[in-house]
Amino acid sequence: MMWRSPLALVRDALRGQRAREKDLRNLASNLPYEGLEKVKQPNRFFPGNAIKTTKYTLLLFIPMNLFEQFHRLANIYFVGLVILNFVPVVNAFQPEVALIPICVIMTLTALKDAWEDFRRYQSDRKRNNTPCFIYSRKEKKFSERSWKEVRVGDFVKVFSNEIVPADLLLLHTSDPNGVCHIETSNLDGETNLKPRRAVSGVCVSDPEFEPESFNSVVVCERPNNNLNHFKCYVEKPDKEKVGAGIESLLLRGCTVKNTDHAVGFVVYAGQETKSMLNNNGPRYKRSKLERKLNIDVIFCVILLLSMCFVGSVGHFLWLEEFPDVPPYLVPDSNGHLDSPGLSGFYMFFTMIILLQILIPSSLYVSIELVKIGQIFFITNDADLYDEETDSRVQCKALKITEDLGQIEYIFSDKTGTLTENKMVFRRCSIMGTEYPHKENAIRLAVLEEPESGEEVIFNQRPQLSQTGWSLHAEDTNPEEMQHHHDNRRKSRVTGSAPSDVAFSSPLETEVIPDRKLLQHISRVESSGSRKTDPYLDFFLGLAICNTVVVSMATAERQRASRFSRSRQTNNPLDTLSNVAKKPFSLRHIFTSWKNKPKRSRTISEDSVVEEEHFNAPVKIDGSGNTDGLQTCSLQASSNSNDPARTPDNVTYEAESPDEAALVYAAKAYGFTLLARTPHSVTVRLPSGEDLVFELLDTLTFDFNRKRMSVLVRHPITKECVLYTKGADYAIMELLGTSYAEHLRGKQKNIATDTQHHLDFYGKEGLRTLCFTKKVVSKKVYESWLVCRRNALAAIDNREELVMETSVQLETELTLLGATGIEDRLQESVPDTVVALREAGIRVWVLTGDKPETAVNIGYACRLLEEEDLVINMSCKNKLECTSILDCTLEEVKRYSEDPRNVDTSQDIALVIDGRTLTMALSSDLQDRFVDLAKHCRTVLCCRVTPLQKSRVVKVVREKLKVMTLAVGDGANDVNMIQAADIGVGISGQEGMQAVMASDFAISRFKHLKKLLLVHGHWCYTRLANMIIYFFYKNVAYVNLLFWYQFFCGFSAATMIDYWLMIFFNLFFTSVPPIMFGIMDQDISAEMLLGVPELYRTGQGAGEYTFTTFWVSILDAFYQSLVGFFIPYLAYQDSDIDIFTFGTPINTISLFTILLHLSIEIKAWTVVHRVTMLGSVALYFIVTLAYSAMCVTCNPPSNPYWILHSQMADPMFYLLCIITTVVALLPRYMFHVLRNSIAPSPLMQARRLDRLDASTRDEWMKEWRSFRGLGQVRRSRLSPPPSPTLDTPADIFPQSPTASDIMADDLTLNVITDNCQRPVHM
C-alpha cells in the first residue's frame, strides 16, 4: 500500500461520510477499476457485504458486557452496595464477601450473553462465507467468491434456489421476458412467489449478459428499512433515465425461484441491505404486573430507608447513654472514637448494606427465569399446535406472559382471524342478474358436515380422488413423499374432517358452475357475439384482473416447496400442485355440457332439490354422469403425465386468496388463465381458443383506493381495455356509462340491481367485489402513459403520484357485475367467542368489510345474540355524529340504570362504520364514545382502515385503562397489533407481517381460548403468587436481622454467618419459588376451559393487589417477629454465643419460608417435592460441611462445629418445631377459614377438580347453565326501551315475545335455586 498523507486520509474519510449521508447515491460499476487499490475505487465509501451482528469482540467482551449490564438499575444498586462496603467506616460485611452475589449474578448474565454472541458470530461467519458468483473482469466470467467479498457496484449472478447475497438491482435473467421470481419467506415469511423484472434497456443482454458493457450510473436513495419500497433510476451514458423500483430489486435473504439464473448490480451491501436494516432484535414490552411490581419495589425502598433510619437513630441514642467508654466500643485504628452523631450517620449506610436484600434484586432475575419456563410450557402445548401448518404457538415477546391472564378487551380482525381466509366462490351477479350457484352451495354444505361424508351425494367422487391421490404419490419420488406429514395425507385421503381438507382441498378450489349461467355463456359462445358480450367480459375480468402467478406443477417447484418446509407456514404450493393433478376437472363438465346438452337436461329433470329460480336442478348423480366422470379421470391421468401447459396442471399463486378464488371460478366456466408474463396474459376461452392479451399496465391494489385495475389490449378488437375490480363502495361512485348502447334502456337499473344483490350478499356474510370494464381510447391512453412514466421515474412521493395516475384512469367505469365470495368461519370460533365472553372479555371486531357482512359474521360467531340490542351508528357529518352519540349514550344509560335490568349493559352491541368512527374518535367526542362503548358488550367497527384500527385500540386502552389484546393476521392489522398491550398474530394465508409484529403468534383463532383461559390464567397466578412470595421471603428474612439490631446496640451485627446468609438466598431458597412460578397449577386446564368465568379472577387488579402485597408484608413481619423472639426468649440470659444463637434462627427461617411456600403450592408434582426436599437437604449438607471445615477460614464469625453441636441438642429441634408452627399458624388458619367459610370461585373449582371426570363434567355443565339462565333472566326481564323515533340511531331490539313468559318462569327457578346453593361467582 502506498503511503498517503494523513490529511488526504482524513479528507477521504469525510468524503465517505458525506457520500453515505447523501439522499441520493451515485453508484458505478466496479469493473473498470478492478485490481486497482482501494482509494481509486468509486464505491469504497459504502460498506462491504460482510455482516457483523455480534455485540462484542473477544478482547473487549468484559468491559463492554459490564457496561451493558450496568444499564440495569438493579445491578447499579448492587454495585453501589459493594462500593459502600469498601468504605471502612460503613462496611458491614467483609467487602470481598459482599461482592459474591453481584458477581454470581453478573457472571451468569455474562455467560449467557457470551454464549448468545458466540452463536451470532458463528452464524455470521457461516453467512459471510457462503459462496456466490461475482463477475470478474480478469477471468471474463462469474467466479465463485464468498458473500463477504461482495461490494457495492459488483455484478452478482444468482442461480435458482440460491439465496441473494446483497440487495441487487436486477439487470438480466435467464427468462426471455426478464422476469425472475423470488420467495421472500426469509424476510416476511410470505411463501408465494413474487415476480421481479429486470430494468429494461440498460445493458446489452443478448444472448449472454455482458457486465462489462454496463457503463451507466445507478442513482438510488439512501438505504432504508422499507421492504416494499425502493426508488432508483439508472442514468445511461446518454443521460436517459430509466426508473426502477422495488419490482426490480432482489433483496438480500430472498431465494430465487423458477428462474435459472439472474444477474444483478449490487446497490446495497451488508448492513445497508433492507433485510439487515429490518433486523431489529426482540421487542421489549413491560407487563402490567411488572409495572405494579415496580411500585411495590419503591415501597420496599421506603421500608428499607425507614428501617435504616430507625437503626441510625437507635445507634445514636444507644451511644448517647454511656457515661464512659465501655470496653466493647472499639475505636478505629488510631484509637479515636467517632461522636455518637457521626456514628449514627455512618450506621445509616451500614444498615443499608445489612438490609440490602429487602430490595429484591434477585426477583428480577427470578422473574426472567420463570418467564422462560412459562414460555417453554406454552410453546410445548400440544393443543396449541396446528397440524396443518406444522406450527406451534410462538412467543415473541418474552416478558409479558402474565398479561395473557388479565385481558379485558380483545380487538379482532375478521378476515383470516375469525374466518379461514380461504375464499370460496359462492355467487355472482352479472348485469343485474343473480346466479346463486345452488349446486356449489350444496357441495360446500356437504363439506362442512364431516360425518355425512361425500359419499352421500357425490358418491363417485371419493374413490376417484383417492385414486388420484395414490397416483400422485407414486408419481413423485418416494423420498419427497416422506416430507409430507403422513398423518396429514392420510386424513386428507379419508377426507372427512373439514379442518384437514381446508384450502388444499380440491373441493374448495373448484367451483361447480351455475347451470343457468353456463347455458347463457354457451349460448353466447355459439352465437359468436363474444366481443361485446358483458358475460364474456365479466369472466375475462375475473381471469385477467389480478396479479395471480401461474405456475406449472413441475419438479422444480416441488423442490422449492421442500426448502420451505422448515418454515413457519407450510407452503400451500405442494398442495396446490396436487390439486392440479386431480383427475376431476371442471372443464370437462363444461365441455361435456356443451357436447351433450340433451343428456344433462334429462339428468337434471330427475333431481328434486331445486325449486327456486330455475326448474333445471342440478344434482350430479345417476348412471350417465358416472360415465362422464370416468372418462374424465382417464383423460386426467394422461394429462398429468404430459408436461404441456394445459389447464389441468396449471396452479395459481395469488397474493390474496380472493384472487385465487376468482380465477378458479373463471376457470370453472372455461376461462382459464394460462399464463401471465409482465407483458401479456393468456386466457383460454371455453371454446378452446387462446386469447393473448397484451398487458399494458397493472394498477395495483392499495388500501386507499380499495380497488385494482389491469389495462390490456384486446387481441381482437385492439382496444385498450381497463378491467377494474374493487370493493363496492370504491367502485359504485366511479360508474359512468352503462354497458352498451343497445342495452341502454334496461341497463339503467343494473347498478341498483347489483347494489341490491351486493347488500344481500353482505347480509349473507359474503365478501363482495365489483367488476367493471372501461374501454380507453388511444388518445387518452397515450396521454395517460406519459403521466404514468413520469410518476414512475419520480424519486419523491412516487407512491402518491402513481396512485394519482391510477385514480385518473379509473373513472367512468362500466359495471359488469359482482361476485360474492364466502370466507368460512374458522373451526370453533363461536365456541371460542362465547368462552371469551363468559370469561369477562369484551370482543370487538374491526373489519374492512361492510356493516351487513360484519353483523352477519357477528351473529354467526355468536358475538351477537338474537336477543341483543344492536345499535347501528352511521352518520354523515360531525354534528349528526355528536347528536347521535349523545342520544345513544343517554338511551343506553337509561336502559342500564333501569332498576329492572341491572347488568343489562352487557347485552348491548354497537355497530359503527369507519367514517363515523373517525368522528367518534376525534378528541372532543372520544370520551363520549368510550363511555358508550363501555356499556356495550360487543362493538363491530366496519370499513375501518389499519390506522383506525390502531386508533380504536389506543383510545380504549388509554381511556378505560384496561388490558387489551389485538389479534389479526394481515398486514393491515400490524398497527393494531402493535398498539395493544398484547398483539397476537395469526399465521394464516396473508403472509407473516402480522406475525412478525406480534407478541404471540398462533395459527388458529380457537387457540386463543386455551392461550388466554389456561396459560394466561396460569402464568398470571403463578407469577403473581411468586412475586408476592418473593417480597414476603425477603422481608421475613431481613427482619430477623433487623430485630437483632435492638439487642446489639444497632451496630449492624448479624447473628448469622455471612456466607450462610448469602447462600440462603442464592441456593437454599431460590429454586422452590422459581419452580413454583413455572409449574404450579391452581386449577386444571379442563376446569379452566370448562368454566371460563374463572378467568375473571385475573382481570383488573387481579390477585396481585395493594392489599395482597401488604398482607404478605405484614405476615412477613409477624413471622420474623416470631422467628426471632421465640429463640430469643428461649435463650435469654444463657451462655449462648452469637452464631450459635443465629443457627436455629436461620434454620427456623428456612423451614418457615419453605413451609410457607408449601401452603401456597396448589399442586405437588414430583418436581415440587424434589426441589423442596432438595433445598432442605442442601441447607443441612452445605451448612454441616461448611461448619465442619471452616475452622478459621471466615475470621469474624466462627462457624466451626456450631451446627453440629446444635443438632446434638434437643432444644434445637424443640425450638424449630414450635417456632415454625407459631409462625405459620395465622396464614394456615387464614387459608383454612377462607376456604371453609367463604370459598372463592377458584377454590370451588379446585374442589370440583378433585372429583372424578364424569361428575366434574356434570357439575361444570350445571355451573355454566346457571350462568346461562342468569343471562337469559337479565336480558329477558327487561323489555328494551322503545326506540324513540327522533333518534337517528337505529335501535332495533329483537326480543321474541313468546319466550318472555317462559323465561320468567325460569327466572323464578333460578332465584330459588340460588338461595339454596352456594354462591358460585
Binding site: A92, P131, F142, E144, F159, N161, E162, E321, P323, D324, P326, P327, Y328, V330, N380, D381, A382, Y385, E387, D390, S391, R562, R565, S566, F1047, C1048, G1049, S1051, T1054, M1055, L1129, A1130, Y1131, Q1132, D1133, S1134, D1135, I1136, I1138, G1142, A1163, W1164, T1165, V1166, H1168, T1192, P1195, N1198, P1210, L1214, L1215, V1221, Y1228, H1231, L1233, S1236, I1237, R1246, W1259, P1318
Partner: protein, 366 residues
Amino acid sequence: MMASSYTAKEEDGHITVSGPGALRSRKPENTAFKQQRLPAWQPILTAGTVLPAFFIIGLLFIPIGIGLFVTSNNIKEFEIDYTGVDASSPCYNCSQSFSWNSSRPCTCSIPFYLEQPYESNVYVYYGLSNFYQNHRRYVKSRDDSQLNGDPKSLMEPSKECEPYAFHENKPIAPCGAIANSMFNDTLELFYNDPNGTKVQILLNTTGIAWWTDKHVKFGNPGGNSPNLTAAFQGTTKPINWRRPVFDLDADEANNGFINEDFIVWMRTAALPTFRKLYRIINKKSGMVPTLPRGNYSLEVVYNYPVRSFEGRKRMILSTISWMGGKNPFLGIAYITVGSVCFFLGVVLLLIHHKCGNRNNNADISN
C-alpha cells in the same frame, strides 16, 4: 464448471436447510411433563381436612410443654449480684475505686444462703448485663489464625484487631478488643459450715469450654512445645491484662491460648445480658449433696469495671438438665401453643359442621 459448482452448492444448501432436525414435525412431545399433566397431589385446606392436624399438634405439644416446664422447674438456680452499685453492698468500695490498671487488687466478700441443697453437678457462671459482646466491631476484633497458633499471625496480627494489634511496636497476643476486655474477676466460694469453719469449695477450671474449641480452634504457637514463654517471645500482653497470656494458669494444658477461661470469653455472647460458664463444682461421690443447704460466702477479687456502661455483674449457681439451664419459657410456649391449637381444632370442628355440610350438599346436589 458452472454446472458442477451449482450442484455442489445445491448439496450444501440441502444439508443446511433440511438436516435431520428439519425433517421432524414440530409437534410438541406429548409427555406429561411438557403438557403439564404430571400427577400431582392437590391438597385443599379446609376445616375438614386440617382438623386432625390441629388436634394432633394440640395433643403432642401439651405433654411436651408440661415435660419441659417440669424439667425447667427442677433445675435449681441461685443468682447473686455483686456489682456493688448500692452503698450497702460489700463490693461498693471496689466498684468505686477501680481502674483497669490498678496494681492492688480489691477484694470483697458477699455472704449468701442456699435454701436448697444442690444434688448434682453445679455450674458456676458469671453474668454480665448491658455488655454488648455482640457489637459488630467488637465481634470482629480478633484474629482467629493467631488464636489457632499460627506463628505468622502471632507476630503480624490481622488488621481486624486494630487498634489492639500492636502495643509499643510489639504484637499483642492475643490481639483484638475481645481479648483485651476479658473478664478478669476471680470468684471463690466458701461454705460456712454450721460448726463455724469456712471451707473453700473446689472449683474445677477445666471442662468449661467446647471440646472442639479447645482442641481444634484454639492452639498455642509452637504446637505442643512445653515452653510457652519462648513461644510467645516478642509479643506483648493485651493492654488491660495484668498477666501475659502464657501465664494464665499454672497448668500447661490450660495455659496460653487454650486457657479455658479465655476460650469461653472469646465465644462472644449473643445478647447483651449473658452468662458465661466459670467453673464446675463436680458432684462428690456418695449421697452428700454437692452444695448442701447453708451459708456461703462469695469472695470476689474485684477487677472488672462495668460502670462505664452501667453494667451488672452476677454470680450464678445452677444445675443443668438435658435442656440446659433454667428457662420455663419453652415449656409455657409449648403448653400455650398446644392449647391454642386444640381450641382452634374445636372451632374448626364447629365450622366444619356448619359449612362443611353445606359444601358437601353442594357437591352432592348435582
